[in-house]
Amino acid sequence: MEFSDSQIQRYSRHIILPEVGGKGQKKLLGAKVLLVGAGGLGCPVGYYLAAAGVGTIGLVDDDVVELSNLQRQIAHSTSTIGMPKVESAKRTFEALNPDVNVVALKGRLNKDNITGIIEEYDLVIDGSDNFPTRYLVNDACVLSRKPLVSGAILRFEGQVTTLIPHEGHCYRCLFEAPPPPGLVPSCQEAGVLGVLPGVIGALEATEALKIILGQGAPLKNALLIYNALSASFRKVKVPRNPKCPVCGENPTITELEDYDAGYCQMG
C-alpha cells in the first residue's frame, strides 16, 4: 500500500523514528489486536492503539456505560451513558482515526467462544477486571500460542506483564490458580484512582506496539509494578514454572474451563 498525504501527516512522527519508519507504520496498519474489556484499561489502550494506526481492534465487553465509569473510562462520555461500552468506544476510536476498524463484540468471553475469537487476531491485550476472564484469556492464549499483554489495577497500584507462550512465563507461572471468590476486593469495593488505568493502559499499549513492530524487549519473564503514591516502578523477574499447569512440561490444563462461579461480575 502507498500512504495517502493525510496518512503521511498523521503518522509523520512515527515515520521519522528509525525503529518505526514507513515499514513499521504499515505493520501497525495491518495489525489485528483483540482488546478484552472496554473499561478503565481498555479505554486508554484502545485510544492509543487507534491513534497509532493499529488497523483492526477487536473489542469485547458485555457492559453498558454508567455514570460511575466516567471518572476513569475516557473513551466513554456523559452522552453515551446507557450505550454498550463496545459501541461507545468504537465511536470514539474511529472518530480519532478513520484508518482503524473497531470490531465491537458485545458479550463475554467463555471457554466455548474464546478460541474462535482470538484466532482472528495477532495478539491479545487483557484489560479485564476479574479473575475468571484473566485466567480464561491466559489459558486460551497459551493453548493458541498468542502473545498476550496483561494489565491490572487496584487503588493506587497497577501491574503489567507480557506473555509470549512457551517462550516466557504465563499468568499461571506467576499465580497458579485464581484466588477464592471474595478474598480479593474489586474496584467497586476498594476504589481506584481515575488516572491509574491511564498509566497502566499506556504501558500495555506500548508493549503491544513493540510486539507488532518487533522492536525492543517486551516484559517477557517480568512483571512491572507501578505505585502511584510513591511514584515508583518496580520490575520483578518472573521465571517460567516448569510445573505450570498450563505451559509447564506436563500440563494438567489441556482444554479450557470457565471459573465464573461465585465471582462478582462488575463492569
Binding site: I15, G22, K23
Partner: protein, 95 residues
C-alpha cells in the same frame, strides 16, 4: 567506534544497484514532511541506489542531510541550484 564490517551479500547488492538514481521533488513542503517524504522514498529503494532530492525549504537543507546520516545513509552532495532551490543526493546504505 569499530569499523562496521560489511556484509558480502549487502555489498553485492550495493554494487548491482550502484549508479541507479531516483528523483524526489519536495518543493513546497516544510519540515518535518520534507524528511518524512525523503525517508519513505529511501525505504522503497534498494541498497546502493541514489536519491536526488529537489527542495526549497531552507531549514531542510541542513536537517535532511543530518537525519539521513543519523539513519545510516550516505549524503553524497548538497548543492544550491537557484536563489531558493537546492539538491541533496543521498545513497542508500542501510535498510
Amino acid at each position: 567506534m569499530p569499523e562496521e564490517v560489511s556484509n558480502p551479500m549487502e555489498e553485492a547488492e550495493r554494487m548491482e544497484n550502484a549508479g541507479q538514481k531516483r528523483n524526489l521533488d519536495i518543493r513546497g513542503l516544510v519540515c518535518p514532511y520534507t524528511f518524512v517524504k525523503a525517508k519513505l522514498a529511501i525505504e522503497d529503494m534498494e541498497l546502493g541506489e541514489v536519491l536526488e532530492i529537489v527542495l526549497d525549504y531552507p531549514e531542510a537543507v541542513h536537517n535532511i542531510p543530518k537525519s539521513m546520516q543519523d539513519h545510516g545513509q550516505k549524503v553524497l552532495k548538497v548543492e544550491q541550484t537557484g536563489p531558493k532551490e537546492w539538491i541533496i543526493v543521498v545513497r542508500k546504505e542501510k535498510d
